[in-house]
């Protein structure tokens, strides 16, 4: 009796492990949560894209739910998601940009060409704020609540579908 049970245990455990591995195989490793989730927006001090005299720091992100979009002129997906970002700004969501690994000239011409949904752009030519945010490729978008805590992270391109299905519900949730 017990031997039969043991013999049954082998294929059953094999099946369970195989199922588990198969299920993990469907999982896209690029879709993982940011390490900064539910943590404070990292401290920084930087100038703005438009004005080299003006410095800003993390207090910029307190007081209101804000979408922080990390972009660069060199990034094709950033251009494609601009219409969606403009729509989000039209809906009254506060947008702050991080101009990542870029030059002022190129950043400004990008905004002139594709539109400017941002209240302000943090100039990050060395990518040091990006590094502290754990950014490893633009575009990336962070939702920061009124206390300056990161509540949602979107890796990569924001499609029109993402706007209605992910971004807007998250903004509503943390407002």
């Amino acid at each position: 009796m017990s031997r039969r049970l043991l013999l049954l245990l082998l294929p059953v455990s094999f099946l369970l492990v195989a199922l588990f591995l198969y299920q993990r195989l469907q999982h896209d490793p690029a879709q993982r949560d940011s390490a900064l989730m539910a943590r404070e927006f990292p401290a920084f001090e930087a100038t703005t894209l438009r004005d080299e005299q003006q410095t800003v720091d993390q207090s910029l992100l307190k007081g209101e739910v804000t979408l922080v979009n990390v972009w660069g002129e060199w990034c094709p997906a950033c251009k494609q998601e601009m219409p969606q970002l403009l729509e989000l700004a039209d809906q009254g969501i506060r947008m702050v940009g991080v101009n990542y690994r870029d030059t002022r000239e190129k950043g400004m011409s990008f905004l002139n060409q594709y539109g400017d949904p941002f209240e302000m752009n943090i100039f990050d030519p060395e990518g040091s704020l990006g590094f502290d945010l754990g950014v490893y490729g633009a575009p990336e978008t962070f939702l920061v609540d009124a206390e300056g805590i990161i509540r949602y992270h979107h890796k990569g391109y924001i499609s029109p579908q993402d706007v209605s299905e992910r971004i807007l519900p998250e903004v509503a949730k943390w407002r």
């Binding site: 043991l6 490793p29 993982r32 949560d33 390490a35 590094f131 502290d132 945010l133 754990g134 490729g137």
Partner: protein
């Protein structure tokens, strides 16, 4: 002949220089221990972008930034665990090839050990039951014969 040698040498030199410039930067360390730690650290962390390359092998810009940060922190005299924590805080546990032992990974690290112990216990149980059953398997007739054999040996 000499000309060919010089040309070959020049080509080889140009190739190595371009390879060094295009790929991963060379770093100078005064202390060989630091150089070894730099090598080990950059081999133990996974590039967040390219999924199965260590940051020490990867050409992606983020790996370059991470190597630079490792280098700076080593020069500042920070410990290996400080450097690893610094990276994990930003890029997540994903970058560790060897997950750290913590609450979340007890199952991961404990499972192989647990399965080993379970297997050992099962094996012992099986051996014990076999021994017992073989001892029991002696019938009354066999026992009588065994007693007779022992008796004969004692009397002779």
């Amino acid at each position: 002949m000499a000309l060919i040698r010089i040309v070959t040498a020049a080509i080889l030199l140009a190739l190595t220089l371009s390879a060094a410039a295009g790929g991963i930067e060379l770093r100078e360390f005064d202390d060989p221990v630091l150089a070894q730690r730099y090598h080990d650290l950059t081999a133990s962390m996974r590039c967040p972008l390219c999924e199965n390359q260590a940051i020490g092998d990867s050409d992606s810009p983020i790996s370059g930034d991470m190597r630079e940060r490792v280098y700076q922190m080593l020069q500042d005299g920070r410990s290996d665990s400080e450097i690893v924590s610094h990276m994990v805080e930003r890029f997540g546990d994903y970058i560790l090839y060897n997950p750290r032992l913590e609450k979340r990974t007890y199952l991961l690290w404990g499972l192989p050990v647990g399965l080993g112990i379970l297997g050992f216990v099962l094996l012992m149980l099986i051996i014990r039951t076999r021994r017992k059953s073989s001892a029991k398997a002696l019938s009354a007739e066999e026992r009588a014969r065994l007693d007779a054999l022992i008796q004969r040996r004692r009397s002779s």
